[in-house]
Subunit: 380 residues, 2 copies
């Protein structure tokens, strides 16, 4: 089986990730921050270490500004709805995932003004268009770092500067970039960074996080037991407790920490370079096949390891079905929860067959897939 | 090491739970409901099976009415805030956890009327007091099934009847009961049932759920990608998609399903009976010790496997520290995120030392703990 669906969730994970989760579950599967006993302290310490590792990865000064969530969608909902209120204006782009567009759609119905900047046919966003659309009540700019459809790498640093120069908060959706692309919240002027734990960071499902810059008063989405100031009926104000009510996914967060450790060990630059090579290999070879269309930028300097293709006018689900059933190749067809991005690149009707690569894919797998696509394109 | 903190999180889990999680992560760790390939379908199927198992356990007709969340706190926030709006009246009790009281505290500040029924010194709630406090705008009654402080079993069926007779929604917090006490949402007239996956249900941390009765239009807390009707910017209305945006904790839910299978295999009645025996053993023995006070009902027919004690006027943290450091016994001191419940039973200042038992505890462990408490009570 060849797994090319890493943009949905990375698979497999490094063995050390599996091992650390099992160890946490079997040896110290207690409730962190709730009791003072050895087991509870140990899992609490391990969770703090994951916070430290993530802070280091994103150049965050204080690990307490890293909040754990259950996935990137929760992070985005928290970041977006925690900041915006009636009368505010938000600027986002047509390249966003539904995890950004759907919360914004709800806020729009509640009186938040929304401007959506259209990407070009390669999925690129022009920062000057964002700048032009800033108004007096613009409170937040949101965009993805790497498109989950076209793989397009967005000019985060340029947009961050525009946000900073205009006193606007900047939220980046790092769903496809965290763990593979360098993210420096200071250098990029990112105020809020949403990320999944189970994609590029190589942690397990059920993990995600949000960085919140100091001084930003984001409303929490949930209240409950935090194991802190338990005598009060009011949610504590302190980070990260304010945002982390209820029992953590302890073993999951331990596994996420191990994923980040693995990235540090291998080198994020080496992982990215390897994924770029796989992407380049795939793009170059499929472009040679008659009838195959590749979407997004062709240069790997401009794209992540996400490559959407189509074969003629064939339905993307049909192609994906053949790849799975005949060749044991796992890809994702359809709309990828990004309907406006599909409209932007003109694939809203047909969908695309999305190949997405991870650090455990090989050039041999790419060759096999290219051969399969050749055969399919001849047969249909 | 003796683990008596099962009310915080059950530990250990059955081996089959660990094994199923590892298998899911290593063999089919894909993203359910996002792609059509074999791995994605397999994890999707397994998640559906867990839904079916939970539906069977709680006598829910349609498994799609079981929503997965990341913990019981999230379930409670969703259930409470999804129903109540400005002008509504809610009745709850002083025995609730902060995961109920803190969301309600926020709603109160937003114009929801709140009545809190006081428990008696044993933590018992009198249903007639609930009935007396019903008003024209009463929309929701909320109470815990089993107190996380005193272990008191609440008269859920009686309260459910009052709710039904008065056309009021009934939300039960099953944090301490799910997987140990019989829950029948029909017979008990429960409209909304919040439960954790990682306590009595013996699943891993990072799992929880909410049952929502058909016809109840609960507002979702998060919007995002659901893998369904992806062409729309609006959140789908269908169950469970409306409430499950973003990537599931796939392996965690598989483990939860295995926990529920284990409960069916052992028999929920047998598990309960065993925990009752452990509780009875412990309560009877510690009551014989000079200077020890036991809180909550003494009869195991009236209490769950949660036993709070104090030794003289000694601070509960100090006793717990001695139990951990000298005897390797893990318990939880303090306020247990239930400040009003502590006020109700008069332990707000001192806290209590909470012993909570699970299916893997033994009578030998109870004997050892009793001996330790005897020694401590002599020494202080």
């Amino acid at each position: 089986m060849i797994y090319f669906d890493n943009a949905a969730t990375s698979f497999p994970k490094p063995d050390v990730v599996y091992d650390s989760i099992m160890k946490a579950m079997k040896e110290y599967g207690a409730n962190p921050g709730r009791s003072g006993h050895k087991l509870a302290l140990r899992i609490g310490r391990e969770i703090f270490e994951t916070r430290e590792l993530l802070a280091k990865l994103f150049n965050v000064g204080n690990p307490m500004n890293i909040i754990f969530t259950s996935n990137c969608t929760e992070s985005l909902n928290l970041g977006i709805k925690g900041v915006l209120k009636r009368g505010d204006h938000v600027i986002t782009t047509s390249m966003e995932h539904n995890s950004v567009l759907r919360p914004i759609s709800v806020l729009k119905s509640q009186g938040v003004e929304v401007t959506i900047i259209e990407g070009d046919s390669m999925g690129r966003i022009d920062p000057s268009k964002i700048k032009k659309n800033i108004k007096e009540n613009t409170k937040l700019i949101i965009n993805t770092h790497v498109s989950n459809l076209t793989g397009t790498i967005m000019p985060v640093k340029l947009i961050g500067k525009i946000a900073k120069d205009n006193g606007i908060y900047y939220l980046v959706d790092a769903a496809q970039s965290a763990g593979v692309y360098d993210i420096d919240v200071d250098e990029m002027n990112i105020d809020i960074l949403a990320f999944p734990g189970h994609k590029g960071l190589l942690g397990p499902q059920g993990t995600g996080g949000l960085y919140i810059r100091d001084g930003l008063n984001i409303r929490e989405m949930k209240q409950g037991g935090t194991g802190s100031v338990s005598h009060l009926l009011e949610q504590p104000e302190m980070f990260p407790d304010r945002y982390e009510s209820g029992t953590h996914n302890g073993p999951g967060i331990v596994g996420l920490g191990e994923g980040v450790r693995y990235i540090f060990k291998e080198g994020i630059g080496n992982i990215r370079k390897y994924e770029e090579e796989l992407t380049k290999h795939f793009v170059e070879e499929v472009l040679k096949i008659d009838n195959v269309k590749v979407y997004g930028p062709l240069d790997v300097e401009e794209r992540g390891a996400v490559v959407p293709i189509n074969i003629g006018n064939e339905d993307s689900s049909e192609i994906s079905y053949i790849l799975d059933s005949k060749y044991d190749i796992e890809v994702r067809p359809g709309l990828h929860c990004a309907p406006m991005a599909h409209k932007t690149i003109g694939t809203f009707e047909q969908g695309v067959v999305r190949f997405s690569f991870g650090p455990f894919n090989t050039h041999k797998e790419i060759e096999f897939a290219v051969k399969a696509i050749k055969e399919i394109s001849r047969e249909i």
